[in-house]
C-alpha cells in the first residue's frame, strides 16, 4: 500500500532575535524529520513542550511552509499544490486543537459551525448541510437538539465533541490532533478516548496524535514517534516502544509518568534538567541530560537506525536490550 502521508528531511527553522548586523541565528523547531503514514494508521507524536511536535503537525497540514524538505499527501507535494489542490487537500484533512472554546466561534450556533465546511465546499444546500451536521453530531454523541446552542452553553467535553464533529464532517482521510484531550477532566477524557477509538473503527481515517500525555496516547495509536528538540529520536509500534524503550530519552519519559502504584515512591527523577536548545547545534541534542553520554555523543549526531521492531537515534541503543523494566530504570 502506498503511503497516505510522507515527510522527508522535514525541517523548520525560526530566526532568533540577534543584534543588528550580527550573523543571524536560527532555532530548528523541526530538524530533518522522516515520517510515513499509511491509510488508517494512527501515529502518536510525543515529547516535552519545545520538542517541535506542534510545529510538525502544522507542517504536515501545510499550515506553515518547511524551510527544507517536503510533505507528500497521497503522492502530491504540498510545495507544488495550486490553490485548487489546496482546497481538495483541506477537504481531506483537518486539525483538532487543545482548547475547544477558542477553536469555536462564540457567535455561531453549533449546527452552523459543524455545517459550515459542507457549505464552503458547496457540497450541499443549506438544508442538506444542516442534516449532515445533525447526523455528524449524533455520531460524536451529541443530540441534534444541541444544534441551536452556542459554545458557551456547553461543557468542555461537549465542546471538544463539537470540534471533532466539525473536523470529521467532510469524511477526511487524515486528522491531526494537537493535545486534543489534554485539557479535559479524566472522566471526560476517557469518554473522548472511547469516541475517537470508535470513530476510527468506522472510517477510512488516519490519525496523527500530538500530545505530551504518554498515558492517553497509549490507548489511541498503533505507532509512536518520540521527539526531542526537533529531532525524532525513537519510533516503533506502541507496544514494543512502551515495553522495551531503546532511547535513553524515551526511557526517561516513560519512567517519569506517575502510575497508580503507591509502592513506587520517593524515587529519584529519571532525568535532570530541562530542554536546552543550545545543545541542538552539534552532536546528540539529548547529551546534556543523558546519563549514558560519552565523547562520541558530543561530536556526532546519532543516525536513525533499525533495531528490532523500532528505529532509534542513539549510538549505544543496543545496550538497552532486552526489555528493561520500568523499575530497573528507576532504580538506577
Amino acid at each position: 500500500m502506498s503511503a497516505l502521508l510522507q515527510a522527508s528531511d522535514l525541517t523548520k527553522a525560526y530566526r532568533l532575535k540577534s543584534a543588528p548586523f550580527a550573523r543571524p541565528a536560527y532555532h530548528l523547531a523541526v530538524n530533518a524529520v522522516e515520517l510515513a503514514l499509511e491509510p488508517r494508521e494512527r501515529l502518536g507524536v510525543v515529547g516535552e513542550s519545545g520538542s517541535g511536535k506542534s510545529t510538525l503537525g502544522r507542517l504536515l497540514l501545510g499550515l506553515t511552509a518547511p524551510t527544507r524538505g517536503e510533505v507528500l499527501f497521497e503522492g502530491q507535494s504540498h510545495a507544488r499544490r495550486k490553490p485548487g489542490d489546496w482546497t481538495r487537500f483541506r477537504m481531506r484533512s483537518s486539525l483538532v486543537q487543545q482548547n475547544p472554546l477558542s477553536a469555536l466561534n462564540p457567535q455561531m450556533t453549533i449546527g452552523e459551525q459543524v455545517a459550515e465546511a459542507v457549505q464552503v465546499h458547496r457540497l450541499s444546500n443549506r438544508a442538506g448541510a444542516r442534516d449532515r451536521a445533525a447526523t455528524m453530531l449524533e455520531q460524536v454523541g451529541l443530540s441534534s437538539g444541541m444544534m441551536n446552542r452556542f459554545p458557551h452553553q456547553m461543557s468542555g467535553g461537549q465542546r471538544q465533541r463539537v470540534v471533532i464533529a466539525r473536523a470529521l464532517i467532510l469524511d477526511p482521510r487524515l486528522v491531526v490532533f494537537d493535545e486534543a484531550v489534554s485539557a479535559l477532566d479524566v472522566s471526560v477524557q476517557a469518554q473522548v478516548v472511547a469516541l475517537l477509538r470508535s470513530l476510527w473503527r468506522e472510517r477510512d481515517l488516519a490519525y496523527v496524535f500530538i500530545t505530551h500525555d504518554l498515558r492517553v496516547v497509549r490507548h489511541l495509536v498503533d505507532r509512536i514517534a518520540v521527539m526531542y528538540l526537533g529531532r525524532m529520536v525513537e519510533t516503533g509500534d506502541i507496544r514494543s516502544v512502551y515495553s522495551a524503550p531503546r532511547h535513553p530519552y524515551t526511557r526517561a519519559l516513560l519512567a517519569s509518568v506517575p502510575t497508580l502504584d503507591p509502592t513506587i515512591r520517593n524515587i529519584a527523577p529519571p532525568i535532570r534538567g530541562e530542554l536546552d536548545p543550545g545543545r541542538a547545534r552539534q552532536g546528540c541534542a539529548f547529551r546534556s541530560r543523558c546519563p549514558h553520554a560519552f565523547e562520541r555523543c558530543e561530536r556526532e549526531v546519532p543516525a536513525m537506525r533499525q533495531l528490532g521492531s523500532q528505529q532509534v537515534a542513539c549510538h549505544i541503543a543496543e545496550q538497552f536490550n532486552p526489555a528493561p523494566t520500568r523499575q530497573m530504570e528507576v532504580a538506577r
Binding site: S240, S256, R265, I267, A268
Partner: protein, 309 residues
Amino acid sequence: MSTLLEVRDLVVEAPASGVRIIDGVSLSLEGGQTLGLVGESGCGKSMTCYAIGGMLPRGVLRSGGEVRLGGGTERPTIAMIFQDPTSSLNPVHTIGYYLETALHRHQGLKGNDARLEAIRLLERVGIDRAKSRLRSYPHQFSGGMNQRVMIAHALAAKPQLLIADEPTTALDVTTQAQILYLLEELRAETGMALLIVSHDLGVIARLADRAAVMYCGKIVETAPVAELLGRPAHPYAKALIDCMPSIDPEDTEPPRPIPGTVPLLTDLPQGCHFHPRCVRATAECSARFPAPEEIRTSHEVACYHPVAA
C-alpha cells in the same frame, strides 16, 4: 504526632449566586504527614485549600464549620504553591527581591544574610548558578524553574504545612517527576506536613500517605492511599481509578469512561450528587446524602452501596 490541621464540616458559599461550593468537608492532617486531595475540576478541592489558608476570593465566604490549626496555642505557619507558577510571581521583581523580602518578613534577615540564604534556598530547590539567578526575572525562567522559585519562597517561611495546589499540572512529565521528588525530599528534611491537591491520581499515589476524594463539594471517600487505590469503596473513587489510562504495555484495556458529566453546582442532583452517573444507585441514593461511615480502620466512605473489596 499531633494533629496539625483539623477541618470540620466546612461550608463555603458564594452568596451572590447562592452556590454552595464546599458542603461539609472534614479533614485532618498530622504533623509531617502528606494528605492528598483528588477530584475533577469544580469539585472544590482548590477552594478547600483557600479556606484553610484564609484566602478565599472576593464574593466567597466561609459560612459554616471550622478550620483548626495546631493543637496548642501557637499557630503553625502555612505556605502555599499554585498550579501556574509564572503568573503567581510578580513580573516586575527579580527572583532575588522576591526571596529576600520573604526572608526579611519571615526570618528577619537583611542585606547580605538575606542574600546568602536566598542563594542557599535556590540551590536547595535545584536551581544551578543560583547566585547569578538572583538578578533574573520570572519571564527568563521556564515553568519548572519558576515552580522551584515558588517552593523556595514557601520554604523561606519555614512552614509546618505546605499546601500544593496542582503544583505540576502545567509542567512536562519529566519536570513533574523532578518537582514531586523535590517536594518529597523537602517534606522528609523539614518535617513539614504536605497537603497536595491534584486531579491526577498518579501524583497522589506518588506523594500522599492518605487521600480524600472529592465530588461536587463533598468528600466521598478518605483512606490510606494504598488502600484507596487497591480497594476503593465509593463507586466514584473506583470509576476515577478505572478511567485513568494505564501505560502498562500488557494492559490493553482502554480507560473506562464514567457516563454523563459532572453536574453544575447551581443544579446539583438531590441526595448523593453522584447517583445519576452511578451504576449502583437505588431510590435511597436520590433521597438523602449518605453519611460518611468508617468501613475499615481509617477508611471512611459516604455511600449506601459501597463497592465490596
